[in-house]
Symmetry: C2
Subunit: 340 residues, 2 copies
DNA sequence: GTGAAAGCGCTAACAC
DNA sequence: GTGTTAGCGCTTTCAC
């Protein structure tokens, strides 16, 4: 029996070396696929690894290489919001695909409290990850500040963080909102309102700004209902208020598809036909859109691509040890269906 | 200026010791909040840490302590499924809350391909995490096998993995399904069908088994439509087929709320009234349930608690270095609304 | 091609 | 209370 170690003790590279009758150095070379190793040695090491059940210690390796082989995806949202944001899932998929290809491990971290926030900063500083992708950070966010300060390779998805030259990637919410509002106007609507969710963050503000710009003179602040949440319930509740304020309303721009779905149900309940009486458009092109009756016209947000590109940017920074590159804005597309 | 290190080099504990005029040992004690340190020393160290901008290396620390302070949540699902599983989000929240309280970092890992799977095993073996919570693993899953083999503290959510005495936590899908089917029967339905999603996994199989058991003699295999997905689309498509097969159907048990929602929309479209003509019940008590019209009767699954308990089990195993405890089955509750 | 040896940054056991 | 020192398991020169 070559296994003389106790069950609780892991085999080390030295055990492998002894077993193979070689030195640690050679074993290390084999493990790292380095050149200048005889094929006999290579095979001997591989066999020895098997026999002693060796797995290398990430800590020891990372201590000397200063690399972990992992990248964090930080979801900085109160937990409730995360659940029904249709984009997060797709961003995650895109990011994971690209990192997986590069043999980096993606670890997703949720920040749900101040305590979380502090611990996450420790985690990042500790060197558990080589880079980070940050979703929907606020500008005054401590994690953002820490990342920038420590120079961790990173990409911010959603909006540029502060005035720093940090790399970011996002969509032009303002332009997209303007565009779809214009199309809504082109269908002949006269009294157009907005269910403006998330006005406490950039994306929400920008969508409202685009809406305002598109309407120009015809913009009526009374027809804007604000709500922090991008939810179905927010849409339903907002639509009630909008109808009470302006029963003659004939167009609605909802800040997200979920909001639009809530609004549409209320419209039906209040006896309004869509799109005959009221035209309605959403934002995201999420699963909600096709599920609506009639199907929802909306803005397609390239969430998956967002995730992929963010991952690429981080990988590039890690590889080149270069300074951050600038930002990137991905194009959106208006998807015209039957709701307007 | 006390900062003589290059910008690229991190300060080490030695730098702090020099700066504070103390030894590494004392600095380490302060850093770890150990007793037997004079308050002067403590303050001197804290000041020095500030000045040199010290952050301790996780790798070095973890190398000697054999602890990382992190726990993995492994979501072992094809990406598409993850997105609309209403339970995952809540499990995540519960897990994060408990771990956060214990100052452990939760890292969520998605397994989306064979390549992912292999990398994740490496990651776990490497010692990046002290424990793992595994969601909806299949029995033949390589990650499950690796975890069991390496003796990593772990808890499997959903179902016991193989015959091993691994710790797990879940709900009794079979009993819950049986219970709600019985209530459906009690409303006087004669021809009851099931939209049996996910029959390729334990939860789906168990729900079908419960349904079958409840119906007893009245069970008709022709009224069971199978579909791997727990989705709205699966429900819609399944309901079409069910209506075609048995136009006189008057009761439906859908394997999830999303499935039920899809089915209900088809019923409406085909001119059936709910619950007058057809009674329908779901499973999960997710956001779908109250959004249905009429609101859906369903089984409440304690997803958040599931996550909390799983985290506790893992923490306990980590702390005690004990062998795995057995499994735990949480109770479910039938929520009776208006759809049946 | 391979071995020997010097660390990576930290904790913990042991002196004092 | 504090300093000294021996590793933790690995990579990486530098000889040979």
């Amino acid at each position: 029996m070559s296994d003389v170690r106790s069950a609780r003790t892991r085999a080390t590279i030295q055990d492998v070396a002894d077993e193979a009758g070689l030195s640690r150095g050679t074993v290390s070379r084999v493990l790292n696929d380095e050149p200048y190793v005889s094929s006999e040695a290579r095979e001997a090491v591989q066999a020895a690894v098997r026999r002693v059940g060796y797995v290398r210690s990430a800590a020891a390796r990372s201590l000397v290489t200063r690399r972990s082989g992992a990248v964090a995806l930080i979801v900085h949202e109160p937990s409730v919001v995360v659940l029904d944001d249709p984009n997060i899932g797709n961003i995650l998929i895109g990011t994971n695909a690209v990192l997986s290809e590069a043999d980096q491990q993606l670890v997703t971290i949720m920040v749900d409290s101040t305590r979380d926030s502090e611990r996450v900063i420790e985690y990042l500083r500790g060197g558990f990850v080589d880079g980070a992708i940050v979703l929907s950070a606020r500008n005054d966010d401590p994690i953002t500040r820490a990342i920038v300060a420590m120079g961790l390779p990173a990409c911010f998805v959603g909006h540029p963080p502060e005035a720093t030259a940090a790399s970011f990637i996002g969509i032009d919410n303002r332009a997209a909102a303007e565009q779809i509002t214009e199309r809504l106007m082109a269908t002949g609507r006269r009294r157009i309102g907005m269910l403006a969710s998330g006005t406490d963050r950039d994306s929400g503000q920008d969508r409202l700004a685009g809406f305002t710009a598109a309407l120009g003179e015809r913009f009526d602040p009374d027809l804007v209902i604000r709500n922090p949440l991008f939810s179905y319930a927010a849409g339903a509740e907002g639509m009630q208020r909008l109808l009470d304020r302006a029963p003659d309303i004939d167009g609605v721009f909802a800040a997200s598809d979920a909001v639009a779905a809530g609004a549409m149900d209320v419209l039906h309940r209040r006896g309004r036909r869509v799109p005959e009486d009221v035209g309605i458009v959403g934002f995201d092109d999420s699963a909600w859109a096709i599920r609506c009756d009639p199907p929802l016209s909306t803005v397609r947000q390239p969430a998956r691509t967002l995730g992929e590109q963010a991952a690429r940017q981080v990988l590039e920074q890690i590889a080149s040890e270069s300074e951050r590159t600038g930002g990137l804005i991905l194009p959106t597309e208006v998807i015209w269906r039957e709701s307007a």
